[in-house]
Symmetry: C2
Subunit: 335 residues, 2 copies
């Protein structure tokens, strides 16, 4: 398998990208292509003593950053690392690509260059959130601010395939994020989506369990939480914000006295598990589901370990052939 890493995009690029690529090559094997400014990448690779690893460099001089207009960046900066990487994906030069760059630019670019799967109306960006007993896939987590019930139906199918094929969850439970559990709840979009999801559930095509509330999601009530990208973004950011706030407040609690400082020393090793569970670095990245090629978005603040984790996810995604699974089921996924 060949994996492209957009080496120039992200808060810690290109160091984290090069170092994460080296870690992944050592840990997972496979072949890698770092796309970006050749001289810079060559120097960084030399420092990593990576001569014997199957990593090559493909030159691209420009960089798309957070200030570029998402809708036009890939079209306008044709020699940007992200643009070059997407064209290489389109031309079949690799099996998957990972970028920690501008989310909007990557989605627009992937849609423009590598295209959506035929029949898919919008590509979605899922995010795995920690919850009781494991992880829940939030889809869409921010790519599509305005949605129709057909988009939400497609998100439900794609999220199910991902959780089943990549994460090994049998018969994933799909919930519709709503402002109440009763089946009459919601705005017009939610009511229409409920009906089409229920029909897909009744036909045995997905395991639809009904509406889920914000509080159900951390409680592990479903494996796939379906929502529009506006609500998904707010839900995701709220989870991050509350977790950060509580962990910070907890730190203050541990710093209040000599007694509590001693308590912290005693509990510190066990706290590591909680921190690791809340960390986005373990998951690393997520594919744009619905794009015809495996294009992975890694978190903008990814460090080397997060890039390594994104590579791990991408390998599992390619091996599970989620793109093929969506293509084979597309007739059930359109209204």
């Amino acid at each position: 398998m060949k994996i492209i890493i957009d080496a120039m995009s992200g808060d810690n690029a290109p160091q984290a990208q090069v170092s994460g690529c080296v870690q992944a090559a050592k840990e997972f094997g496979q072949e890698y292509i770092l796309v970006g400014q050749e001289a810079v990448l060559r120097d960084l690779l030399a420092k990593e003593q990576a001569e014997n690893l199957p990593i090559t460099i493909h030159d691209a001089q420009e960089i798309i950053d957070m200030h570029d207009d998402p809708a036009t960046a890939v079209r306008r900066k044709k020699d940007a690392s992200m643009s070059v990487a997407l064209r290489m994906m389109k031309d079949g030069e690799a099996d998957a690509m990972i970028s920690a760059g501008n989310t909007g630019a990557l989605l627009s670019g992937a849609t423009l260059v590598t295209k959506r799967i035929r029949g898919i109306r919008r590509a979605a960006l899922p995010t795995q959130l920690p919850c009781k007993g494991g992880h829940v896939l939030l889809i869409d987590s921010g790519a599509n601010v305005e949605c129709t019930e057909e988009y939400l139906l497609q998100f439900a199918f794609m999220g199910s395939f991902y959780m089943e094929k990549v994460m090994g969850v049998k018969n994933p439970r799909v919930g519709l994020v709503n402002n109440g559990a009763e089946d009459t709840k919601g705005d017009p979009l939610r009511k229409a989506a409920y009906d089409v999801l229920k029909a897909a559930g009744d036909a045995g095509r997905i395991n639809f369990i009904g509406n889920v509330e914000g509080s159900d999601i951390p409680n592990g009530a479903c494996d796939v939480a379906v929502t529009d990208g506006f609500t998904g973004n707010i839900l995701l950011k709220t989870v991050e914000g509350v977790a950060g706030f509580l962990m910070g407040t907890l730190k203050d609690v541990f710093l209040t006295s000599a007694r509590t400082k001693l308590a912290y020393l005693l509990v510190k090793p066990a706290m590591g598990g909680l921190k690791k569970m809340m960390s986005s670095k373990e998951v690393g990245g997520a594919p744009f589901l619905g794009i015809s090629k495996p294009v992975f978005k890694a978190h903008g603040s990814s460090d080397a370990y997060a890039i390594r984790s994104a590579v791990k996810q991408a390998i599992a995604y390619v091996n599970a052939d989620v793109v093929g699974e969506i293509q084979r089921n597309i007739d059930n996924m359109t209204l």
Copy 2:
């Protein structure tokens, strides 16, 4: 001041309502009217040895519960404690009323019986959330699933008055909950709301600070977080869910070994502050902002202490004359 307590509505009614009323009478003075089944309430009051407190009983035999249709409950059950209490408010028999009953029924009933303030399009239910440095008022937190930019503008004004007059926050910072901080973000509702909020801010009528993300809210970036009731409900429930999940996981961490159990004993007193901060019982209740009389919604699961806290909030709300403040500013609050 006379305060009506709907004694029959809520998960722990009527015990919590009677006991909370007694606590409030002892702590805050004022006069109280318990509305509900007279014989039951008389027995409970006798057990509380409340003979010398200024508490009277007003009989109402029916009860509105969670199974009643919110839109029609108050109209259909005319002798329910909630319905009777609302009519007494309309007739000026008391200064404020508190109910822990069916939220939808209470809002519909208040709108029907006590009416909205002239010019207010929809009453909103705000919720105070704990955040870094204090509390943030989420408005609307669930009453209005579908909103226009004018509703959101009115929520912003009403939330500002509440935080300033009742909570003592000077020049409260108003944020629009959105899927990004940039002023071009959002769905059509958010874009339209941004423009009217910015105009009100530029005119010096509210202190509009722009868009806020889900993660900004626990971080205390604003004092008033304006949103529609659908998004508000999901945000609120997510905060509750994540807080519950993390506190539960933390408990597991403390139970892992003898060392961590010892740590818990050391840190337990300091943890009390964190628990108290996350508890809805301290705030107790919130008024339907925009209703022409002070009608307070207490949490359905309110215990006696929560009812006592709701009374405290209601007294502050009446003394601050938020209803009058809204009436005096209504010309600036309509489009």
